[in-house]
Subunit: 322 residues, 2 copies
């Protein structure tokens, strides 16, 4: 019997990973290339297609490819493009779907990492059977993928879910964001955000902390987590503050789309209750009473190692089946 | 030829209006009852059904009713209920759908006023042909109805779109809201919100204003509008501040669901550019660059007089046709 498989592709600033994945989420084989080796997107897509051909060929006649799902920064599903990505070696609007169509007539879907994570959670993870939920990806920045009525929310321009760029407060006396604006959620809630919060607390407090020996560039969220685990008060307060900021904005999100659950994915979410507890407490405190106690705040159930390619590949099943 | 009609019902704290409406939005006939005359919801539904029968009967054999669409505060489409409504004479959970089923086997849909307004805008108004947009109703409070991928967003518990209860800023040194929380958007952006803002500006400023002769209870948004039109600086600043607060939160909404357009409906929206200009300017200023210049901020195109019953009735066409 021939098995239908999706090709999941995660295009990152350093590496591009790809995998053959069946409908149940089993990764049959995978590979990667160095994104930076290709100065032209045309050359990149050609090399990628060849490498995928290689692992598909190794499966012999047992698999049949259903389509290609691509997760990439600023991926736009409406247009099959990557648009002005900050972290990739290419600039402008990259017509990935069109470049693929030189090699295949199968469907090719492109979306951003957080949207791919949301679909992955629905097809393979903790959101199986849910029709309304949100996935928040916590990395260097903060991304969001929304599922409403069982479908991914793309929005009119293909850029829904940019929750990292909702604002924590009005006015301009706020943290500068890489996007050129001020006070964006990801300036507080992300691997970088928690470092900024830690510095702010160190500046305001006289408490001692092992982290006072590290420069901003030496710090990372794992070191802050480890210090908090050893009882460091400043590190603990940095997690509390980060969680509260997140919880505060989650309450807004609940009032907007009333999800059944919110999943936290990657990076800071691995700190477990250290971030979940303050986030959950603040969210519950801020929720309108009709929502209180009804929205689950959960860790992603996707296997972290393969989550990005699985999320990307799952686009194929979501679009075919739902 | 027999014409299919929807029955649109708008249950308000004082009056309940109902109308027979065809697919194009023509109101064939309408009527109303005094909501407060009925101490029990059972009696209310019986009287309502009788009155609707009366106007339907007058159409003779030319119309056939397709279903009943009901807009009501805290209407829950998932359950066909009205839940703990603040402004109605009944308390607890009112099973409107079930009460209707004593009299009819036709479909009965219940939702809140803002959701009904959103569907009305899609079926009869300025959002015809749009798949992703938001309607914001500005009245005593602020409500929201979201359409995503061409469908109304109900959420997991039937309470999506409570945009009036998203928060303007974290912390507790904010305006108290009727919901028991602090800093909700509707404490700034609503007929009541602008009065509160006006008082705050009067308190902080030494400028003279004709509105300094009116008590809080004597003030209303029309008087503030008229004063601003006559060049009153404090009234003008109250509109500017209200518009900016709205624009600030609209930018969050755009980053969340990336709508093609946002429609403002009722109340304050009738002040036209006095509220639209500061709202649009602040929204554009706050938008992430991928959205700039792409999201239209528009007045509702529904006829204000029949908008509530038309929105309610349109639920029938939305669910039958989309």
């Amino acid at each position: 019997m021939i098995m239908q498989v999706a090709v999941g592709i995660d295009i990152g600033g350093t590496n591009t990973e790809f995998a053959l994945i069946d409908r149940k989420g089993t990764v049959l084989d995978k590979g990667k290339l160095n994104t930076r080796d290709y100065r032209k997107p045309e050359d990149f897509v050609e090399a990628l297609f060849r490498e995928i051909g290689m692992i598909a060929h190794k499966q012999g006649n047992t698999v049949s490819i259903t389509g290609y799902g691509i997760g990439a920064p600023m991926g736009n599903i409406n247009r099959g493009t990557i648009e002005h990505p900050a972290g990739l070696p290419w600039t402008g609007i990259i017509p990935v779907g069109e470049l693929f169509s030189k090699y295949t007539t199968l469907p090719v879907y492109v979306t951003n990492d957080a949207n791919a994570a949301a679909v992955g959670e629905m097809i393979y993870g903790g959101a199986r059977g849910m029709k309304n939920f949100v996935v928040i990806t916590l990395g260097t920045g903060l991304g969001g993928g929304l599922i409403v009525n069982g479908k991914l929310v793309y929005g009119a321009n293909g850029f829904a879910g940019e929750l990292g760029h909702t604002s924590v407060r009005p006015g301009s006396s706020n943290r500068e964001c890489g996007c050129g604006r001020k006070g964006c959620l990801e300036t507080y809630v992300s691997a970088t955000g928690i470092k900024r919060t830690l510095l702010k607390i160190m500046a305001d407090s006289v408490l001692d902390s092992e982290l006072r020996n590290l420069s901003f560039n030496e710090l990372d969220s794992v070191k802050i987590y480890d210090a908090a685990n050893r009882g460091d008060k400043i590190a603990t307060e940095a997690f509390n503050h980060t969680g509260r900021m997140l919880g505060f904005k989650l309450a807004d999100l609940v009032a907007t789309v009333n999800p059944e659950a919110i999943f936290l994915f990657g990076g800071l979410s691995l700190a477990g209750e250290m971030i979940f507890r303050p986030a959950r407490e603040t969210m519950e405190e801020q929720l309108l009473s009709v929502y209180k106690g009804k929205v689950k705040l959960l860790p992603s159930q996707l296997n972290a190692q393969n989550a990005a390619v699985m999320g990307a590949g799952s686009l194929i099943w979501a679009i075919e089946e739902i």
